[in-house]
Symmetry: C2
Subunit: 422 residues, 2 copies
């Protein structure tokens, strides 16, 4: 039997997904089974809570498979999240000393950070600092983002569930919009700042359900009102109920956002523009041009937290990648991001791999040309073939009183372990 | 064995729900089992399609339990809907002659109309005309509306599924909003022009899930910004993530709509104002007052078509009430609206009854005082006790390729039956 080498700390960061807690459950389960790991701590609100020593004992709180399963089926970061950006690791900023003093205080040997692009930036910086200061701490990033825009992985945990929600909701919206006979255009706005993966999921019903939005506009292609109006005019000749799916990140050829007019102009801490007006801008323009009934629908935050219709494939993979992260750390590796590698062939299968975390940090993986049709207003069958397996499978959720059962983490700080006892 | 007395015609009308096709499936199943009924026709787009003889053979298209079940799990009017308003039955308008000539042509003895308030107005007028002209046709209304605002019934088919979607989505939105530590207000706008039943469903997680929106504002109470700001200020002292649920139909004490500024000012054919700006109006006002992050989320048409999370109670009852409508018609009754009567006692049980259709037509049943708290910013436990059983139970849906399987009606007109053969 191996000796305990140290404790584990887990944090969550970035925007919510339906699968981020499945990964948390996977890391807890993996760490509990790992003889080289002692206690399993969680940092409330990511590195923000780490700095303030808001630390909970996850090993104690999730000590059964039943509790871990409830956690895996709970949407949004159960530990709380943050959007804190670290300064350069060699900036001499005292924040690093503070963070590593907390690691020492809690006997941390393994730090797992579950997050998106920006969180991988944090992982990269912390691992560099850890290595340079010979701390002996393994820092491992575990990806999550509904946006599916991380480099170095076939797809990201969280994307499949968001895609399933979008595809299922789009199928329902299409049924809803088909009931009347008067000309009407419905614009469905879907998340995705720079990459159109989520918007592309709106086309999933096309292949097998015999229904699909008339057009799908991704941010990978410049947007032009002329094309939109011509497309809608052609669709209205085919049927009265036109439905289009648009990415929140649509931009004109000059790079300006289609939704810019309806925006507050503010940017988040990472400098990303905050978009929320694309659907409404298009609604107004289409109404003015065609004079028919036009409606815009935002899938809004529901698309990232709809755990009640999560993809079983996504949730199971998200647990597995969390467990694999523990193996990676226990093998003494650091500065790694866990990733999925899809096996070639018609049948869907993935292997869990790991890559240098800097590959993923601060870069964006867009929808490739082969997945977008020539007219730039739809996706190809190859794109649907890529997305479909990620949103297949349904979970056996526990429902009580009409609602899915969620796990809640007690956020009361547990205090540092007594060095004499641990 | 009874002789066939005549054929049945079914139409759907008004806005979509997740249960309107369950009622359609119930009427088809009931009519197929009824020896006095010959063929089972469907009018595409309600009385609009009836006038244009867009008639399909539902009995032939849904000739198995498997097909009926797929229909019962499909959202939005599968026959298509309409919003046509009939003139007074004694106006001498030729539309009545036309409608009844179609009934004669298709050998119709039973007409079932599935719809909301306005559709019951149609049922009332058609039955009066039928009776005065001694047509021998039974006209039966079967209610459906997510709004739950029909008089004479404990609740309406379709409400339970919408309520379940709203409650489940609200629970997820609450988890999503809880992840950050900065002050933020989320306004969730929910449908309901005059009655707050749907908005009240947002409070359902409160009783058993330990989470709930901070406030729930129903259209039954006059809205005032002073109270809203005071409420939010108090909530922000308790926690940084304030979530409120608001009805699209909120009005100031002077009767003007809160969302009026963002509206197009158009009214629908029944004279109802088209509302869609309440959440956005509140978002702007709260942002201006508090200066914190504010977001508005519209549950929009998803709340009425989210069949993937339909309430099993609602769908089963919706099938049953459709079957009961056939019994009612076969007994020679007319001008009736089918209704639910809840049995007294702690355990939920309903009986299916019928009432004079004029009781339901053109009137609105609001949330009673006993269901709204004293401050007018929340609902009582009695209200949750009323709603909860309606959204309990989960369906065993058939999923294929990641999505629920829907039924599609072939809309090709079948042509009038040959009188010599039928």
């Amino acid at each position: 039997m191996q000796t305990i080498i140290g404790n584990a700390m887990i944090g969550q960061s970035g925007g919510p997904t339906a699968a981020i807690n499945a990964t948390l459950a996977g890391v807890i389960r993996g760490a509990a089974a790992q003889t080289s790991i002692g206690r399993i701590f969680g940092a409330v609100n990511g590195i923000e809570g780490l700095l303030e020593e808001r630390i909970v004992d996850l090993g104690a709180q999730f000590d059964s498979e039943e509790k871990l399963e409830a956690l895996a089926h709970t949407p949004a970061a159960a530990l709380g999240s943050c959007r804190k950006k670290l300064p350069a690791y060699d900036s001499g900023d005292p924040i690093y000393q503070k963070l590593f003093s907390v690691f020492r205080k809690y006997g941390i040997r393994y730090f797992f950070y579950i997050g998106g692009n920006d969180s991988m930036d944090t992982v990269a910086k912390l691992s560099k600092y850890a290595a340079e200061h010979d701390s002996g701490i393994s820092v491992i990033g575990v990806p999550k983002t509904i946006d599916n825009d991380l480099c170095g992985t076939d797809h990201t945990p969280g994307y499949g569930s968001a895609a399933k929600y979008i595809a299922a909701t789009m199928q329902e919206i299409l049924r809803d919009c088909a009931v009347y006979t008067v000309d009407a255009v419905t614009v469905v706005e879907i998340m995705g700042r720079d990459a159109g993966w989520l918007t592309a999921a709106a086309a999933v019903p096309k292949k097998y359900c015999g229904t699909a939005p008339d057009y799908v506009y991704l941010p990978e292609r410049p947007f032009a009102y002329e094309q939109l109006f011509a497309d809608i005019e052609a669709a209205l000749k085919r049927h009265p109920n036109v439905v289009i799916a648009v990415s929140e990140g649509l931009r004109h050829a000059d790079g300006s956002y289609v939704g810019a007019k309806s925006q507050s102009g503010t940017v988040d801490i990472f400098g990303h523009a905050y978009l929320s007006g694309t659907g409404r801008s298009l609604e107004a323009a289409i109404k003015q041009h065609f004079g028919c009934k036009v409606r815009s629908v935002e899938l809004n935050i529901m698309q990232r937290c709809a755990a009640h219709v999560a993809s079983a494939t996504d949730i199971e993979e998200s647990v597995r990648i969390g467990m694999a992260a523990v193996q990676c750390a226990a093998a003494g590796k650091t500065a790694r991001m866990m990733a999925f590698s899809r096996r070639p062939g018609a049948e869907y299968a993935v292997d869990i791999t790991e890559i240098d975390v800097t590959t993923a940090a601060n870069s964006v993986r867009c929808v490739p040309d082969a997945f977008i049709n020539e007219a730039g207003n739809g996706v190809t069958d190859a794109c649907i073939d890529y997305i479909l397996p990620l949103c297949e499978g349904e979970l056996s959720l526990r429902w009580e009183h009409g609602l899915p059962v969620h796990a809640v983490i007690d956020k009361t700080p547990v205090g540092a372990p007594d060095p004499d006892l641990d």
